[in-house]
């Protein structure tokens, strides 16, 4: 029998076309030459409709989270949509106190999307997953007509294992607890905004996108009474704290002078009339623990490479109105509210 010759994908100058989502040989080729190669694991290699995964250890529970990624630009300083789609979901699982294990990945590709970019993104996902110790075990690819997408959308779902007896939740904050963050705020949000709008700022604006499973594990080890962890993404620290205050029916008071903000982000915010509290981070951990465990938790965060600039930024108080407030550098106090819509630059 003769071997059928299949021309390899033109990964230098080729483009995604409708056949790549059609369920035929072209789709098989795309999956094989790009995704299976980049993600490389036995589940994907079997080519079945679903991955059959081993059972968890006795007493462990499953943790599941999903996230869709639509970032523009696709490539930015500090990462790309591929690494971001892995970090985002790994972090959502990790902050629940779980050990992230597997990811699924759904791709919606726009007709005409360069195969070179797709390969670059898939490679970046594969590396990010390997670094985070997770396998991308199943996936899906759809192609939409030109003009009906924005290049590429990626949805990832993550599965992790939560050990017996461990329970973290946004509803567990109590008056007397303290709030810690693992590093400078708003790096990702400002890096994306500066890229998108072509704002030429001096200084180094880079996304902080990173997988937080290691840092989360260090926090869990240092603070046995840890109430909750979160990663303050969209809406920034302000939105995350408001969610926690509402879930736990408490108030939170931040100390402005303690908030870690890089000079580059501070300057850009100053210029645009934006508040770093409203900007997204993609590699920062927020943790709430009992006051007496604050020192141990802070030390643990700071001794981890991703937490060098960790800081104790606020405390939880009793407040039936669930307000988040901030003691300002000036000595006054103000609310830290949810943001109304997108952060828009002020005029004056």
């Amino acid at each position: 029998m003769k071997n059928v010759y299949v021309r390899p994908l033109d990964l230098r100058s080729g483009h995604v076309d409708l056949a790549h989502g059609g369920g035929g040989r072209a789709m098989q080729q795309l999956i094989g030459e790009i995704f299976r190669r980049a993600f490389d694991n036995p589940w994907l290699a079997r080519g079945d409709d679903a991955a059959v995964l081993p059972a968890l250890a006795p007493g462990e529970r499953l943790v599941v989270s999903t996230d869709s990624h639509v970032v523009s630009p696709l490539f930015f300083p500090g990462g790309d949509i591929g690494s971001l789609s892995v970090h985002g979901t790994v972090n959502d699982v990790a902050v629940m106190g779980a050990r992230p294990l597997y990811l699924s990945a759904g791709f919606i590709l726009e007709e005409g999307f360069p195969l070179a970019d797709l390969q670059r993104i898939a490679g970046s996902m594969g590396r990010a997953a390997a670094d985070a110790g997770v396998a991308i075990v199943t996936g899906d690819t759809k192609v939409v007509e030109r003009g009906k997408g924005d290049g590429i959308f990626i949805t990832t779902t993550g599965v992790g294992a939560l050990p017996a007896g461990r329970e973290l939740s946004g509803a567990f904050a109590r008056p007397g607890d303290v709030v810690l963050v693992s590093g400078t705020l708003g790096e990702h949000g400002m890096a994306i905004m500066a890229q998108r709008e072509g704002l030429a700022f001096e200084g180094d604006l880079r996304s902080d996108s990173a997988a937080l499973h290691g840092l989360a594990a260090a926090a869990l080890a240092a603070s046995p009474g840890l109430r909750l962890m979160r990663d303050p993404t969209r809406g920034g620290l302000a939105a995350t704290l408001n969610e926690i205050a509402r879930q736990s029916a408490v108030g939170i008071v931040l100390e402005e002078s303690a908030l870690p903000v890089s000079p580059a982000v501070a300057a850009a915010c100053e210029f645009l009339g934006l508040d770093p509290l409203n900007l997204a981070s993609e590699g920062r951990l927020l943790a709430v623990c009992p006051g007496e465990e604050a020192a141990a938790l802070l030390a643990a965060l700071r001794s981890h490479p991703l937490g060098r600039q960790a800081a104790l930024v606020g405390e939880v108080i009793a407040d039936a109105r669930c307000f988040v407030q901030m003691q300002t550098t000036l000595g006054g106090r103000r609310m830290v509210d949810w943001l109304a819509g997108e952060p828009l630059p002020r005029i004056c």
Binding site: T328, G331, P345, R346
Partner: protein
């Protein structure tokens, strides 16, 4: 941050607050209006009011570019964006300003209108240059701070002979607005106010001179202040001293940027490109004579109102909305019946709830924790 943090220092703030407490007279009260939204924002953002004596009150004035835009003007630009094949460029804040029936430029965009957010007037001009087949309209709003950049792009468009660029000019002037508040038209307000914290950025352009006749005529002190919280506190202290001594002068706290005559180059540019409108509608202040600008005849080819034959007709505000009274300092944000219930930053009814420079939005976002009856966050 160098050059900025020094003006937000807590130590200095405490010293100033102590001095203020010593200097205010216990047997009287003080009410000062900060005209500018930039001051309103700084006051709310840094919690300045927590540092002031009990008998000193700040009234948040109308100097927020989007807050004074009347519904009719938003309607005008909405019609342009929705009904004509044009691209409308706007500053970010403008997107959410409510028009009749809950419409806004943000909603128009969702309905298919081509509305772009820009960071500077230059961006609109650049778009017109890049895409000559597209009619680009710049919705130019703001006080004297944002006016010179508009003048520059109009002059540049004329030099380039751009046929696809025009400006819907809604630039307004500060002195007529302050005068209107001092005159206390439409229900007063002036008698409540003991003095004004004068604009920062606007004054870098127009200087301190334009405020002098006003201070003398209405016997109200004016202190020009920078936009940093310590600037505001120092200006308040200077106002207290003037009131205590019975003076009504124009003083300048913002000497690091503001001079007597202001920026003469910018003024000349504005005079070249713009001319005074006979009258202009302001939200909250009504029709004010000679209070706004349109393009001068030499540049009328770039006037979007002419190019697209746009008429202006005023549209009454929502009946329950008290923005008009809030802007004049007659009513406080939290006393408006719509505040925090029907009217929130997510669904603003009045323009004061749109920008964080607006009195209502600033109080909602930063200050409502002071209100014992505030609803759950």
């Amino acid at each position: 941050m160098k050059y900025v943090d020094a003006f937000r220092d807590g130590e200095v703030a405490r010293t100033l607050a102590d001095a203020l407490r010593r200097e205010v007279q216990a047997d009287r009260s003080y009410a000062f209006m900060e005209f500018c939204g930039g001051h309103t924002h700084a006051i709310s953002r840094y919690g300045v009011e927590d540092l002031l004596p009990q008998n000193l009150r700040l009234i948040h004035g109308p100097g927020c570019p989007v807050c004074v835009l009347p519904t009719g003007r938003i309607e005008q630009v909405l019609r342009l964006a929705l009904d004509r094949p044009v691209t409308v460029c706007v500053y970010g804040d403008t997107l959410r300003v409510p028009a009749a029936g809950g419409m806004s430029l943000l909603k128009a965009r969702a309905m298919g209108a081509d509305v772009r957010m820009i960071y500077s007037a230059m961006d609109a001009l650049a778009l017109a240059q890049r895409e000559p087949a597209r009619q680009v309209v710049f919705f130019a709003i703001g006080f004297e701070t944002t006016t010179p950049p508009t003048a520059l792009v109009v002059r540049e468009a004329a030099r380039l002979g751009l046929a696809n660029f025009s400006v819907l000019c809604c630039h307004v002037l500060t002195p007529p607005a302050i005068r209107a508040i001092a005159e206390g038209g439409q229900g007063g307000g002036a008698s409540l106010i003991d003095g004004f914290i004068g604009p920062a950025h606007v004054s870098t352009v127009i200087g301190t001179r334009p405020y002098a006749p006003f201070a003398a005529e209405f016997r109200k002190p004016v202190v020009i202040a920078g936009f940093e919280p310590l600037d505001v506190m120092q200006a308040i202290r200077m106002l207290v001293r003037q009131v205590n001594e019975g003076r009504a002068e124009v003083e300048n706290e913002f000497t690091r940027a503001v001079t007597l005559d202001g920026n003469l180059k910018a003024q000349a540019l504005m005079a070249e490109v713009f001319t005074l409108r006979d009258t202009f509608e302001w939200r909250g202040l009504g029709m004010l004579p000679r209070s706004a600008l349109r393009l001068a005849d030499a540049f009328s080819g770039f006037d979007a109102e002419r190019r697209f034959g746009l008429d202006y007709s005023p549209i009454p505000d929502h009946k329950g909305c008290e923005c008009a009274a809030v802007l004049r300092g007659v009513t406080r944000a939290r006393d408006c019946r719509l505040f925090g219930t029907v009217c929130t930053p997510e669904t603003p009814v009045g323009a004061c709830m749109v920008s964080s420079e607006g009195a209502c939005a600033a109080y909602y976002a930063y200050g409502r924790s002071r209100d014992p009856g505030a609803a759950v966050s």
